[in-house]
């Protein structure tokens, strides 16, 4: 591992400090590349540690002030962690399936038994079971491993939205009851938000909990304020501390919901490409906004740039 301070808005002082602190000048162009806004990126909290996958994988134990580069088996497109298993990191790779670390990213094992070749563009760990892993295989479907990645099986085809199958770009297992003995798996797609019960009966729109009552009674449906239609949802996050609180990263900004995805409000108007939330504090968010990693400790009302700390 190599230590490096990330200056997301490079200036002479930061560059010099970074170069001196690591003595690895070759890392700087890599970071410059990683900071471009078009690259796939992923964020996750492993306890208090922040993981950032963009270009490479970087780990910060101090709220983003300094970072350590971690080796990975391949290019990481997506990340997942679990509150009940510190150190567990699941990484979806551009090639080679899913990799799993149990020591916070220091070492990895590749998990591909039964998983077809392809790009794993989204991963999630079941909120109630850290041995249950979900992976979205681009152009194929949603796969699951019930044995911590030892074997994989197809869970369900991709969601059908706007008359076509859509790849989940983001997945989140959220501890909200489905009424079917399980919880919901939310998916952000290129055209919007959808969700499926973890029994995998069917993908369906996010609706208020009392929507069925209104339907049966013939009343007006409850109010909703969905995410902007037709816009890719690049990242989703929810904290076990308050699962009804959700965050979504879209090009139009960083959005938040307080009711499990029915009503959304914009919390930042800068293009957001990744978001993560602390497992014990739903107001502690890390997000890539305009290509810059920012931290909010108040649910997105205010933000600070980690590079400035």
């Amino acid at each position: 591992m190599k230590s490096i301070e990330i200056g997301f808005r490079p200036n002479r002082r930061k560059v010099l400090t970074a170069a001196l602190s690591i003595g690895v000048a070759s890392m700087l162009p890599r970071f410059a590349l990683a900071a471009s806004d078009g690259d796939p990126a992923a964020l996750a909290f492993d306890g208090d540690t922040i993981l950032l996958a963009r270009g490479g994988l970087f780990v910060s134990d101090n709220g983003g002030r300094t970072w350590t580069a971690a080796e990975t088996p391949g290019k990481v497109l997506s990340l997942a962690t679990h509150r009940d298993r510190p150190g567990l990191v699941v990484a979806g790779l551009a090639e080679g399936g899913v990799s799993i670390s149990e020591d916070g990213g220091a070492s990895w094992r590749v998990s591909e038994a039964g998983l077809p070749d392809g790009e794993i563009n989204a991963v999630a760990i079941a909120s109630r079971n850290p041995d249950m892993i979900y992976a979205s295989l681009r152009g194929d479907g949603l796969w699951k491993s019930e044995a911590a990645g030892a074997t994989w099986s197809l869970a369900m085809d991709r969601p059908w939205l706007d008359d076509a199958e859509r790849d989940p770009l983001a997945l989140a297992s959220i501890e909200l009851e489905t009424g079917m003995g399980g919880i919901w798996i939310y998916a952000g797609t290129e055209v919007g938000l959808t969700r499926v019960p973890d029994c995998f009966c069917r993908w369906q729109d996010v609706q208020p909990g009392n929507a069925m009552d209104a339907l049966v009674a013939g009343e007006a449906p409850p109010s909703e304020a969905p995410l902007p239609g037709g816009e890719p949802i690049l990242s989703l996050a929810s904290s076990p501390s308050a699962p009804e609180v959700m965050y979504a990263a879209l090009r139009s900004g960083l959005w938040a919901s307080q009711d499990g995805g029915v009503i959304w409000q914009k919390r930042a108007s800068i293009a957001a490409t990744a978001v993560a939330v602390h497992p014990r504090d739903e107001t502690y968010i890390a997000a890539l906004l305009g290509g810059i990693l920012k931290i909010s400790r108040d649910g997105g009302a205010t933000w600070i740039e980690t590079g400035e700390q």
Partner: protein
């Protein structure tokens, strides 16, 4: 048509259950041609460990439901409840194939009330706007017949799935 909720829902449940019992009993008698006079022995035994909408299930209901399933459901969901091949993969139409109703599927994750609503009113009765090849059987089957099909399906599940589904049904508050 989805069932009503609250007190009306409970009333509807009772009506369904009474109809099921009477229809099943009549069917059993007509089939066997036997008139049972001895009231000390059960005419139609309950199925151990199986309920529907909170009430016991009779063996004759399961028998009647098996035939109704064969007549109305098996062509898509399989004679042995195995579902259509490759049922997790979408059809060219964008719709999902008929899933299995045995323990390999997800039917046992749904409450009695939801299973009844789906069978009677179609999937759209519980997921508004959802497009499915499954028709709403409420136009062709009585409530008692729908219930009989579901108790037959439930009777085939292993103990673990039955217990799980019973808990889901018990926790289903109608939301």
């Amino acid at each position: 048509m989805p069932m009503n909720k609250g007190p009306k829902d409970r009333s509807a449940k009772c009506t369904v259950r009474r109809s099921v019992h009477l229809a099943a009993l009549g069917s059993a008698l007509a089939t066997t041609g036997v008139v049972v006079l001895a009231q000390s022995e059960p005419v139609d035994p309950r199925v151990e460990g199986l309920t529907f909408l909170g009430e016991p299930v009779l063996a004759s209901e399961v028998t009647a439901g098996q035939q109704l399933y064969a007549d109305n459901c098996a062509s898509c969901h399989g004679a042995n409840l195995e579902g259509q091949p490759d049922w997790r993969r979408r059809l060219d139409t964008g719709r999902m194939p008929a899933p299995p109703h045995d323990d390999t599927g997800h039917t046992w994750h749904h409450s009695d009330r939801m299973l009844f609503q789906i069978t009677k009113g179609g999937v759209g009765a519980v997921v508004p706007g959802y497009e499915s090849d499954m028709p709403a059987f409420g136009e062709d089957l009585t409530d008692a017949e729908v219930a009989a099909i579901l108790v037959y399906i439930k009777s085939t599940w292993p103990e673990r799935q039955r217990e799980f589904q019973a808990e889901v049904s018990a926790n289903d508050t109608g939301g």
